[in-house]
Point group: C2
Chain length 242, copies 2
DNA sequence: CGCCCCTTTTGATCCACATCAAGGCGCGCT
DNA sequence: AGCGCGCCTTGATGTGGATCAAAAGGGGCG
C-alpha cells in the first residue's frame, strides 16, 4: 500500500520482489519482465476474473487480498484459497480460469499477457522453478485445508483459522500484537465451510473463554496461545505415541 | 498388472510411459532415468510412507491405487487424494512427506532417489515441465474437492464420487459398462468427509431410486446418468443466467 | 459343511450446526 | 442529531448426518 504504483515502477523496489514468481530472477531476467509487466488495480469487492473467463493475463498480487472461490448454482459458496501479496493468479498452459477471483480489499496486480509469459517461462528456468515451488506449496496448503473442511469441528476450524492469521503477521515470535481479521464473518464462513452465524458464535465462545480478546469486530489479540492451539486439533504432528 | 516388473523393465513398454513425469522425455532422457530407477511393490493395506518420514525416494505409481491422507490425534481421517497409475509421490525440494501414503490395492512404484532425481529435474526441463503441469492439475483437483468437502450434501458427495469413478474408466463414452468401486465404504467415507454408515445409506438410496444398480458390493452399473449428474450438484458451469 | 471374521446394511437416537428470526452496533450521509 | 444500511450478535427451532446398536451377507479356512 505504501508503494507507489507508477506504470514503470522499478522491480527492484517491489514489495514482493523476493517472494513472487520473480524471486529467483537475476537483473537481466528482471529487465525482461519489467518490459512486459503492467499494473492493474481493483477496488474491494470487485471481481477480478470469473470462472470460465478467457485467461488473457496472468498476474501476481502486489498488495491487498483476493479470494479464490466457487459458487454452486443455489448460491452456496466455498472459498478455496486466499491470495495474498506475492501469490500468483492464473496458470501457464491453460486457457481459462476454474474459480472466481474477487478482490477482498483493494488489490493491485502485476500483470503479464499469458501467451508471451508462457514463452518467457519456457526460456527462464528461474521462473518456472519458482512457479513450480509455489504450486507445490499451494497444493500442500489446499490438502491441509481439505482436512479442515472434511473432518474438523466448527470450533477447530475457527481456531485453525485464527492461528493461520496470527502466524501470518507474526514476525517477532508471538509478541502481544494486535491482529486483524481480513475477512467479514460471511467470508470466514465461506472459507471454513460454515455459516456466518456459527462463525460469530464460535468467536464469541472463544472470547468468553478468554482465548482471544476483541478490540472491535475486526481486530483482536491472542490471550491464551496455548489454548488456541489446543482448540485447533492440530497436533500429533510426528505422532510420538511409541 | 499385466506388466512384467523385471528389475530392468524397459521404459518404452511401461504402462505409464506417456502420462507420468517422463511423458515428455526423449529416448536419451529416458535412458538416464532408466539407469537410476527401481521398482518397489507394496501389498494392499500396507503403508508406503508416513507423514514426517524422510523423503528418501520419490516415485510414480505404475500400477494399483494408493491414498494420501491425514489422521488427527483422535483417529478422524481425511483422505486428501487418490494416487492412480502415473501419479507422483513426493516433491522435489522437500525433505519430508506431509501426508500418509497407503497402498489401497497392491501397488508397484517406479522409484528414484530424491537427491539425484532433483539434479535430474534441474537439468531436464522436460521433466520439470511435466511435474509442474501435474502439480497444477492436482492443485485444481484439490480445490474442486474442497468445494465438495465444504459445501456439498452427503448425497451430492456420493454422486460426485461415482461420477468421478465412472469418468475415470469410461473410454467409450457412456457405454453400459460395469464399474468397480476401488475403495471400501470406510475409505469412501474418509475420502468424502462422511461416516461409512452415511455412505452406505446414500448408496442404498440411489440404488432404490434407480440411479445405479449393484452387481455385488463393489461393482455397479449406471442406470440413469442424467439423474446421477443432477444429484452431483455440479452444474452452472459457465453460469449463463444472464 | 460350518464357523468366524470382516464388511456392509439397516434401524433408532442424538447432537452439532444450519436455518429462521430479531435486535444491536457503528458508520456515513443528510 | 437522526436515519438508514451493512455487518454482526444472540436466541429459538429444525434437521442432516453422526453415533450407537444389531443383524445380515460373504468369503476364507479348518
Amino acid at each position: 500500500m505504501n508503494f507507489a504504483f507508477t506504470e514503470r515502477s522499478d522491480c527492484e523496489s517491489c514489495p514482493i520482489r523476493h517472494r513472487a514468481i520473480c524471486a529467483r530472477c537475476d537483473d537481466a531476467e528482471l529487465d525482461l519482465l519489467e518490459r512486459t509487466k503492467s499494473y492493474m488495480s481493483y477496488e474491494a469487492g470487485q471481481p477480478i476474473i470469473w470462472r470460465g473467463d478467457d485467461l488473457v493475463h496472468v498476474s501476481s498480487v502486489v498488495s491487498g487480498i483476493a479470494s479464490l472461490s466457487r459458487t454452486l448454482e443455489d448460491g452456496r459458496t466455498q472459498m478455496v484459497g486466499l491470495l495474498l501479496p506475492s501469490d500468483f493468479i492464473g496458470r501457464p498452459g491453460r486457457e481459462a480460469v476454474d474459480f472466481d477471483v474477487t478482490a477482498i480489499t483493494d488489490v493491485t496486480l502485476c500483470r503479464f499477457e499469458r501467451k508471451p509469459f508462457e514463452r518467457l517461462v519456457d526460456e527462464m528456468p528461474h521462473i518456472s522453478q519458482r512457479v513450480m515451488e509455489m504450486a507445490l506449496d499451494e497444493l500442500n496448503a489446499a490438502r491441509e485445508w481439505m482436512v479442515l473442511l472434511g473432518r474438523k469441528t466448527a470450533r477447530e476450524k475457527i481456531a485453525t483459522f485464527i492461528e493461520m492469521i496470527v502466524r501470518r503477521d507474526t514476525v517477532p515470535l508471538h509478541a502481544d500484537i494486535d491482529h486483524v481479521l481480513p475477512l467479514t464473518r460471511e467470508e470466514i464462513a465461506n472459507f471454513l465451510g460454515l455459516t456466518l452465524e456459527t462463525v460469530s458464535r464460535q468467536l464469541s465462545v472463544m472470547r468468553k473463554e478468554g482465548i482471544i480478546a476483541f478490540k472491535d469486530r475486526r481486530s483482536f489479540k491472542i490471550v491464551d496461545l496455548e489454548a488456541l492451539h489446543q482448540a485447533s486439533g492440530d497436533d500429533g504432528d510426528g505422532g510420538m505415541i511409541v
